[in-house]
Symmetry: C2
Subunit: 218 residues, 2 copies
DNA sequence: GTCTATAGGGGGATAGAC
DNA sequence: GTCTATCCCCCTATAGAC
């Protein structure tokens, strides 16, 4: 890990562009085009055209093309760690907190579709140290979930034989809508979020939660 | 749907290269390089270099670059429909058959890692009609799973309130190892396959399978 | 902050010899 | 079935005027 995500502010690389600025507009545009054609499928000229400027002008706002990619991916990974992850520290039982995280995670996919799509497919185009930083965020998120599962088992609220694998399985599940969610489909993203949260909690809850002896400590 | 996958044999586009041929070698090589650098990140010259030939020589074997991508993706989608899907028609209960499909699916990811990675990320580079054909296979696979779930509910073996959504959730789950499976990791692909199969069946099995009245018909 | 102009290289694909 | 040679286009990025 190379440090806080807010470092290197003067280099303009790890700090997200503030909403409403020209820079943020261009990042949103790039996200959409990267989503549609792939990072390598979008040239700086095409990007500049869509932004109504010349390719050279983009280099006033961004050091190079990769920084546009990083800004896109950052939208996803920053929120994952600074907004979703802390939900596991909130009030309520382990199931309740898990459900809150799942709902927030799935909803985030629905309202940041371009960025998620890109973050899921174009990591490979990042330079090695940037790639490592992003993967660090993801590991952090996954390990936090695994810890939550283990603690839920300890508290007698979860039945989960392998929290490490289960954390991967849960991430597989809740990242899924990134692949197929369609705003014009049968279910809204909120409905999907609710049902996935129920699925996860249901799966983690012991088959016979109350056998007359209350939660066991096994 | 445009027809049987074995059509267009004379155009050499939908039929997989037979194993052991020079063509198959090149496809495997392309899969690996597409995985490492992305479809747009690999040039015909780089590909030819790796194959020990000149770029122009590739055009003797393949009509164009996209055909190499199609051949790669075909490895995944053909097997999904012609090998995994029929497992749901085999002998045994609905849970047993579902477990068989999950194991085969996850195992397939483990032994065709390059092709899976590419099939998961580079669909967008296909021309519209090829894209539609591939997506048709996937819909077919998903719908077959949804039908299996509905039939399992009818048979009283599954508890599954929304087979359509559940089929997506199951696919999200069993496609997951494509993102993170590491042959040098803690678990082999067979172990992951077994545990994911257990997870799916456990999730589909009613919480109280035997309440003294046998399976209900609700 | 945006422009014109351009450097320097790589892209996919084809023609035609052998 | 593989080669050399080549076409024409697009790529990222920079220099320097305004």
């Amino acid at each position: 890990m190379t440090g806080s995500p807010v470092m290197n502010a003067d280099r303009g690389e790890r700090v997200p562009a503030r909403a409403g600025t020209r820079k943020a507009e261009i990042v949103a545009l790039a996200s959409r085009m990267f989503r549609e054609h792939g990072y390598h499928g979008v040239g700086m000229r095409a990007l500049a055209d869509a932004a109504g400027m010349q390719a050279a002008s983009l280099y006033h706002h961004f050091r190079n093309k990769e920084e546009l990619l990083l800004q896109t991916i950052y939208v996803v990974d920053r929120d994952m760690v600074v907004e979703q992850m802390p939900l596991l520290d909130g009030p309520g039982g382990h199931g309740e907190r898990m459900a809150r995280l799942v709902r927030a995670h799935v909803t985030h996919i629905g309202v940041n579709r371009d960025a998620w799509w890109v973050a899921g497919r174009e990591l490979r185009a990042l330079s090695p140290d940037r790639l490592e930083a992003v993967q660090g965020y993801r590991r952090q998120y996954q390990h936090r979930i695994a810890r939550h599962l283990a603690e839920g088992v300890e508290a007698g609220e979860f039945d989960c034989p392998d929290p490490g694998l289960a954390s991967l399985a849960i991430l597989d599940l809740i990242n899924g809508p990134n692949e197929w969610f369609d705003p014009s489909g049968r279910l809204t993203i909120d409905e999907i979020a609710d049902r996935y949260a129920d699925m996860v909690v249901r799966h983690l809850t012991p088959a016979v939660p109350s056998d007359g002896n209350g939660p066991t400590t096994r």
